[in-house]
Symmetry: C2
């Protein structure tokens, strides 16, 4: 089915270049963008038009890392750092998802909020529980959002109620991957929680599943300094956290891989991240809330490492990817000021790139309106932003204000050509 | 006129102590709190009751530093550091307030937004222009909000369109102070913009006005490292920025004084700040947006220095003091992590204290529901926060979630016993 949307269009061509087209059309043919037109070509005369004249239209936003079961306590218990926070609040909460009654209630709320949010694509963590994870995938499938969901693996250093035997973790993973084949919009992603939660044996078995089934991988890396120290004690024969995944060929060796956070890179490890084309999921909100640190995102971008943005619910305390953009900029500025002292922080163009094409590339041709890209779009609602009294703003300036003042309010949302909101 | 409000009440007793009272009353008599009661005493039987049962009620929030004329470009032009930002964007915008037509349009929007916001008390900067500043004070007077407004003084290093002659700056200040006497809710505050904008002669004359008229003072201090270096070049015989105000007895010597930012304290200067009981206005949003740095707020609190929170519109990019609380916490955590490395950041209790009693003390007995405090209150609207599926939250937990997830939405607002919203 073909249609077009009309309005003031902005997208990120690359991390240095914004493209804006006033009062133009983006044409969608079978879920794929046919590009931007000032006037509709004859071949498209008569197709359905969604008229958003004078409204801002941008590509959909990609949330590269969040935890669906943690949405239930987002904005609470922000008083601890990573390891203590996991043990005291997070693991006990995730344990509740063994109970399907609880899981259904909680996931129904989460899926409803995600559907209304500016997020169009995502890669998220569920829990270790197969039935609850399949329920979450079913609910997400129906929204027509697209993304990856991971049944979490963890066979050590958890609370008793949230720890698997290695054999059962693998058996459940294979069962879950099998049952996930029914879904079109939602795909499985292999998800060892992080090295402290996964024995060498489990990592090795998961690595084999990745190779056999050709599945993508997501995990956490180098988020917190105490965590990094612990990992070096847990895994023999490694020099850095990066090696703890590379040792088991889980650092982008065979497949697309997302590593969340990467706040504290190792100078040797960072070369492997780059060489293996690992996507880094940057969550500035989580990195502040858990006192993790200031990730050197500008350096990653300048090195050509793949970086996307993430909310990291519930380490992160909001669902709006516009807040993630704002925080990527401000956290990057603070790092440039107090750590690098080089006046070279992350800017709006780079944040917009990371939130669209940067993360989108994990999903294929996603994150732009250029011809051939999957048609994901957001229509921004600027109605609550008080009028400024200055020469009429251009499209990029209106977008900047929206990032800071728009509260993530959208009046339209499309994913792969389907209207969601 | 006496009345009571009923609901779930939370206030900050001191920076370590939250007080919460489920389903209770706060009684207001002639604008003054009579304290909190589980059941209304007989003497209050029959008074008007605002019934906010099951809603959270907290003291009003105090914005210690913001620039009213900058609201018109809030959320724009976040690409420069302080001095360049002032010259390229801020000074040209403030120049427009010479034109009363522009000033009226812009200030009408600002005052309307401030009235709807969670802010009940404020100390703000206007521009150098007397007619526009008096118009702003008239509009604010009518809202029944309470606060200080400063006609800005600047006789050097500005753009041509926004620079006064010293004599004219003093003459206009005296005229403005005279005309400000009509207002009840809004009071004048002497406002040398900051040392780079004010000659020694101007500082001296303003200091004399402060003494003659017994007026409070507000200015900026030690916000940006380049600024501090410049100040040491501009003023002879000083060792630190603090001395540049102290030299003219404008650092809390004779009167209540607010100094905004104070990101980079001098080890000798900080003792003068403490000794002279200067209030520091901490604006975490502005300090990030302008790459100013990470203010050592936890240290100030531990030293017993007076600290309040501020939005610093438009260096800050939001009007909600709840965002200022959130950012005070997260920016404090980041400083504790990357600068102090002491796991001792600013916590929610301290942020709440700074936003209420900490800043409120500048206005008298303001920022609490204890008997004898001026009755400023906010009723919080939690309706947009998705239900969490966990044991029923207590009042302090609900408040924490509201700070992170509430979007500053209020369903009631009182200042000195008058209902504003």
């Amino acid at each position: 089915m073909n249609f077009a949307i009309k309005g003031d269009i902005l997208y990120s061509y690359d991390k240095k270049t914004l493209v804006s087209k006033k009062d133009s059309y983006v044409v969608c043919e079978n879920g794929i963008s046919q590009g931007i037109f000032k006037t509709l070509p004859n071949k498209y005369k008569g197709i359905k038009i969604y008229d958003y004249t004078n409204k801002l239209i941008i590509p959909g936003l990609v949330d590269m890392h969040l935890h669906a079961p943690q949405y239930s306590f987002m904005g609470l218990h922000m008083d601890l750092e990573l390891i203590e926070w996991l043990n005291k609040y997070t693991f006990p909460e995730e344990s509740k998802y063994k109970n399907m009654k609880y899981a259904k209630l909680a996931y129904d709320i989460f899926v409803n909020e995600l559907k209304k949010s500016p997020t169009t694509r995502f890669s998220l963590f569920a829990t270790i529980h197969v039935p609850a994870t399949l329920y979450l995938m079913e609910k997400l499938e129906k929204t027509n959002l697209k993304g990856f969901v991971g049944k979490v693996n963890m066979d050590r250093n958890s609370v008793k109620s949230l720890q698997e035997k290695t054999s059962e973790s693998i058996r459940d993973t294979l069962k879950w991957v099998e049952k996930s084949q029914d879904f079109k919009n939602i795909k499985p992603i292999i998800t060892p929680r992080f090295t402290p939660s996964c024995s060498d044996e489990l990592m090795l078995d998961l690595s084999n599943i990745v190779k056999d089934k050709n599945l993508p991988v997501q995990s956490h890396i180098s988020e917190n300094r105490a965590e990094i120290k612990w990992v070096k004690e847990l895994v023999s024969g490694i020099n850095c956290y990066e090696d703890a995944y590379d040792k088991f060929e889980l650092l982008g060796t065979h497949t697309n891989t997302i590593m969340a956070h990467y706040v504290w890179p190792d100078e040797k490890g960072i070369e492997k991240i780059k060489k293996n084309k690992v996507w880094i999921a940057h969550s500035p909100s989580s990195n502040r809330n858990l006192s993790s640190g200031l990730a050197p995102i500008k350096r990653y971008l300048d090195m050509g490492i793949k970086v996307g943005l993430a909310t990291d619910i519930a380490g992160g305390s909001y669902i709006s990817m516009f807040r993630a953009m704002e925080d990527a900029i401000t956290v990057g500025k603070i790092r440039s000021c107090v750590v690098d002292n080089n006046h070279n922080g992350v800017n709006l163009k780079e944040a917009f790139y990371m939130a669209t094409k940067g993360g989108g590339s994990f999903f294929g041709k996603v994150g732009s309106f250029e011809k051939g890209y999957e048609f994901d779009a957001l229509v921004l609602d600027e109605s609550k932003i008080p009028t400024v009294l200055m020469p009429k703003l251009n499209i990029a300036e209106r977008f900047e204000r929206f990032v800071y003042m728009g509260n993530g309010m959208i009046s339209g949302k499309f994913v792969f050509g389907k209207k969601i909101v």
